[in-house]
Symmetry: C3
Subunit: 369 residues, 3 copies
């Protein structure tokens, strides 16, 4: 079997993903879901005019029975007459989805529904910030929150495979790395409750969540780098996590850095020097489209091959669940295949590294069946 | 028509440029103008030994009737016997120059002169810092400065197409993003006048200029990243502008980030998430010479294609006006052509994106005829 | 002679290297020496599963009489039956090693021993921090330290060709760039002596060493970017050195930035604008293995060709001394040869730039015979 065939047939573990959107999408709604910007698309701009837009027209159109590069309107018309979720999810070649249920869960398929639609296994990843917000909504006394949170996490993670933190969005990585004391936590909870206890953005609470997450024993996923308008990308540089990573290392927690662009080389460095750090290129791969191979290759510089993970970070249109996998396969075939062609790697090593990256590292890390 | 032919024949809008130097240039003077360093070139170094130097010898020499790769001395000898400005400006294939007149205007051709020499239209871009310095030189009373500046900008922008700020040079982007109050501005003007009111470097005045610029309705160009010795490159990272971009967004101001290297991926991210942010690779393209395609490709990752602009940022030898265009064409042909060859893009999309990038985005943004 | 042959036969100056390890290495010991991580390699990970590990199996195995891509165990078995140091050092094609003797000198060959084993000339580079620690170990009075240090440096540099600072490891580049006063230095020495005067990490003492180094007249090497677990990579960004570089420039000191990844573009910018700044990609080249050409090409964007240096930064297994050179040759052949093939550079310029980079710039900078 050729290397390209091996990669094409490899069942992937998509270790960080969200649900697929249910129901039809008109052009406005679809365009808004293929950008990380939360701003209305200006009339003179189409989000189809981007690497991701061109990749949808190139790689998804044939799955809907169209020619490659079909126009956006033709594409959306064909999409409306079929069941794109089933079609695209089944074409992704994913055996296991690890589903972050903490973002707009009502707008998309849940864990079981995603499994049913795709024919894959689906496992839950629990978002720490959402759980604290849930507890706050149900607990009127500040002093009861710490215990209630631990109980809630115990319940929620009983069947889960991992935890997730979006401290990058809520504050940035420029936080005090030490574990906050019980007293500091209570004072911060007090402030937060006085202010209405809705969205957690207090750095004391956020780092308390990180430490609680690190102590639970499950792998902890962190959003890093590229994301939506809400982010201050500058403080989503994973190097800002260095001291925190040093401090949680003795706990044995495994930490997965997600997406990482344009700090993927920095993430690769952290995965190189710290045994407990993993990383992926996540939603980067599909957003950069025709540049996926170039970006993925940069992720293959310092990171040990046992630390690479695959994810799509798809949310919404099932095109993203499919393209994450399809563009990863295309890029890995090109980059690792290129290493073989330029006579640096053996074909056996290329197969082995692709398999670690796309499947086996995640299976080991998350203890999947 | 092939894609390469299309790009070769595309009339470009060079949306950020300076004048061409008049008169002969000896080797010392020429070498000093093909580097961003303001230091004397050490005797053991030649600035021809750089990507830009090799590009001049490769691509400009044939225009002067020499073989490609002519020696620097042969090149300068041939140059002295011809009219390099007319020759090189006409070969650039630029229909419109947007000229920043705020930097050493006396040393180079003015707006009209550049138009006459090149046969292109030329439009002015007004540099904010220079206008404040002009006002200070003509206004003895601090309290009169704010009104005088507004009047001056009204006059100066009557026929202009854009504004420019060099806050990156004068202070860096690590400034308070909020609009300063009238009282703060007067206090800062007071301090500045007491110190002689020459070069504006006060962060209050610089951000006041940015806010005034943002309120004028014209597109606002910002120097970002790579530049001369004067710069602290670390504080020229466009991500430091994030909060300021958020605050001016409601004004409707369009912001163009110039050059951006090595933060062009960061700039692409800002152009992705913020509807009012554009960017170019400006003087980077010619300075990296044989690497232009590689760098330009990185700029094509996250940025929507409706946000890409072309500029040379040429100042001085008309070689730079020519090479900016010539290397951009070469790189775009290679990169977008490569996307078509690797079967990711259609040829039609490549033509369309090249045309947006080289011409149509700038026409729309600056409302050019 | 083809360009590839020229590069293959070019005698290199390895301007920053350490000794080779003596005696046999079992798999655990060998694996620990082919990573920059100081942590024990977890049982589920092998450091052979990395770009460097694959490069060893690909390029060193044939030198030991094995097929390319031999398994790690076969490789280490063959290694144990030969004299790998003599074999690999002789294959490196290095005429001069500039040896940093300040790191674990007892564990590896000294300057003369490296020369004897390799048949190359070897010269010493003196590490500033080690010398201050030596002086502190021999001098009981704080007030005597400044003079004792100067005397010690005078002695130690009598036959040396350069100095080295590891302020990146001990503190980071976010230090006050000004020269500390004698009074500040004495106060810092007092604090340090009270605390036991072992490892220098006090920023006042570290920058005092930098200034003393800058005043000695010898080229000063600075560790920059990628290194071991001890580092905070974020403060090893060379742009943080900008103001210090400005302040020492009038002294005439030449500064060489080592390794630099992932800040090699930033380093190239500094080499572009400051006449006294040089840089190399050092240990990056071999650690990124099959990506060496891609990374090296990025280093060839802004840096003047008279500022590029070659080093391996090898420490320990002689595989690293060999691979530094072998992968540099392979990458330079591919990148510069590519510039020629794409018709941007002449073959003559490629040969000239490769020779400057691999040999002549270092000869001039360090005044080698």
């Amino acid at each position: 079997m050729s290397f390209a065939d091996h990669v094409a047939e490899l069942s992937l573990v998509d270790h960080h993903v969200h649900g697929a959107v249910k129901g039809e999408l008109d052009r406005t709604a679809f365009e808004q879901l293929i950008t990380e910007s939360d701003r209305p698309v200006p009339p003179w701009l189409s989000t189809f005019d981007s690497q991701l837009g061109l990749a949808i027209r190139r790689y998804c159109a044939p799955l809907l029975g169209l020619e490659p590069h079909a126009s956006p309107d033709d594409y959306l018309a064909a999409r409306a007459q079929q069941d794109p979720n089933t079609l695209l999810l089944n074409a992704a070649g994913v055996s296991d989805y690890l589903v972050d249920t903490g973002y707009q869960a009502d707008a998309v398929t849940g864990v079981d529904e995603l499994a049913a639609l795709s024919g894959a296994r689906a496992h839950e990843v629990v978002r720490l910030e959402s759980e604290l917000e849930y507890v706050a909504a149900h607990e009127s006394t500040v002093s009861a929150v710490p215990d209630a949170l631990l109980r809630r996490l115990e319940e929620r993670t009983a069947g889960a495979v991992g935890l997730k933190s979006i401290v990058a969005y809520r504050h940035g990585f420029d936080f005090d790395p030490t574990e906050p004391s019980a007293k500091e936590v209570l004072a911060a909870l007090d402030r937060w409750y006085s202010a209405g206890a809705d969205r957690v953005t207090d750095p004391v609470l956020l780092r308390w969540l990180l430490w609680i997450g690190a102590r639970r024993g499950l792998p902890l996923q962190l959003h890093v780098g590229f994301g939506d308008t809400d982010l201050n990308l500058r403080t989503a540089d994973p190097l800002l996590l260095t001291e925190w990573l040093r401090q949680v290392e003795p706990l044995g927690t495994q930490v997965a850095l997600l997406h990482c662009y344009p700090f993927h080389r920095e993430a690769g460095y952290l995965a190189h020097v710290f045994p407990h750090v993993y990383f992926d290129l996540g939603l980067t791969t599909m957003y950069v489209g025709a540049r996926a191979a170039a970006v993925i290759a940069e992720g293959l510089e310092l990171a040990p091959f046992g630390k690479l993970l695959y994810s799509s970070d798809a949310f919404g249109p099932a095109e993203l669940h499919y393209l994450g996998a399809a563009l990863w396969r295309r890029a890995v075939t090109s980059v690792l295949g290129g290493f073989v062609e330029q006579d640096d790697w053996s074909a056996e090593d290329a197969v082995r590294v692709a398999t670690l990256w796309g499947r086996d590292n995640a299976r080991r890390l998350y203890r999947l069946p």
